[in-house]
């Protein structure tokens, strides 16, 4: 639902000359070295990125990747053992499975690609 809202905001803003902050709290990049990304989400599902909740995606090699759906943004980062630094590849589920809550129901309802059966 929230993602649908965001789409409508996008369409609504496109026709305006001014007075529109833009989608997701975004604006056009200006200046020679604009800030391209920050440690917080300025959109409808706004908040510090420190609070993101991650699930685990099992990659095709069987190794774990932290996976987060933060509405319009998605994040992947590899899980590594804190002591050895090695990847974590336990068989908690078959490759390509997602385990746990990737946070997709927070802020913006998820939309997924159309996949043939």
């Amino acid at each position: 639902m929230k993602k649908a809202l965001k789409t409508s905001v996008l369409v609504g803003c496109a026709g305006l000359v001014s007075g529109c902050i833009g989608i997701e709290g975004t604006t056009r990049a200006t200046g020679p070295a604009p800030v391209l990304a920050i440690g917080a989400d300025g959109g409808r599902d706004s908040g510090s990125l420190a609070q993101l909740e991650a699930g685990i995606y099992i990659d095709p090699d069987g190794c774990h990747i932290w996976m987060i759906d933060d509405g319009l943004e998605g994040y992947w980062s590899r899980r590594r053992d804190p002591v050895s630094g090695l990847p974590v590849c336990t068989e908690i589920a078959p490759p390509n499975s997602v385990v746990g809550d990737i946070g997709s129901n927070e802020g913006i309802a998820d939309r997924v690609p159309r996949v043939r059966d």
Binding site: E24, P32, V35, A40, Y75, S77, R79, P82, V83, G85
Partner: protein
């Protein structure tokens, strides 16, 4: 020279010439086309990741120590650190009675999906000897885990190569003689 060089002899000469020029003056910074002010996200294991929201796209990458490439982690998921003096007989991978009992209790109750077991020594004796001793000690702990039905994901001995304290004092050496167990939840 770089063993991954694929430029061929002519390219090599050119590369050396360029290197000589760049060495003569300090390297110039590249033109800055943008800036990122990332936050830090800490995963459930306690390890840090750089994270940045680019408006309608996101970026994330694990934070690493520039010196050794290791992930940078808070002390969240070291499930257990046991001192080797308690677990093992001196200079041996044979578990003490009390050591075995406490490990059995730990692996019965910790409840993780699997465990990583890392053995470490202090810096006395040779590196080779310490690698072997720590590997045998890690294997002994892993055997206890399996004996109570726990899954062992890896068992590695690092010898004296990953100290957590100075080896110049007795207290420091005692801290370095340890078995670390990481819980893969």
């Amino acid at each position: 020279m770089n063993k991954y060089n694929v430029m061929g002899p002519l390219g090599l000469v050119a590369a050396i010439a360029v290197a000589a020029v760049t060495l003569a003056t300090p390297a110039q910074a590249q033109d800055v086309t943008g800036r990122v002010e990332p936050g830090i996200w800490i995963d459930p294991d306690g390890c840090m990741h750089w994270v940045a929201d680019g408006g309608v796209e996101g970026y994330m990458e694990g934070r690493v120590n520039p010196v050794d490439g290791m992930p940078v982690c808070m002390d969240v998921n070291t499930c257990a650190v046991s001192n080797s003096d308690v677990l093992f007989h001196t200079d041996s991978a044979r578990l003490t009675h009390a050591g075995r009992a406490s490990l059995e209790e730990f692996f019965r109750s910790a409840g993780a999906f699997a465990y990583a077991i890392y053995g470490h020594t202090d810096s006395r004796a040779s590196d080779e000897y310490n690698m072997s001793l720590s590997q045998r000690r890690a294997a002994a702990v892993a055997d206890v885990a399996r004996s109570v039905g726990a899954r062992v994901a890896r068992e590695i001995g690092y010898g004296e190569r990953r100290p957590v304290a100075t080896n110049a004092t007795a207290a420091g050496m005692q801290q370095n003689r340890r078995v670390e167990i990481v819980c893969y939840r």
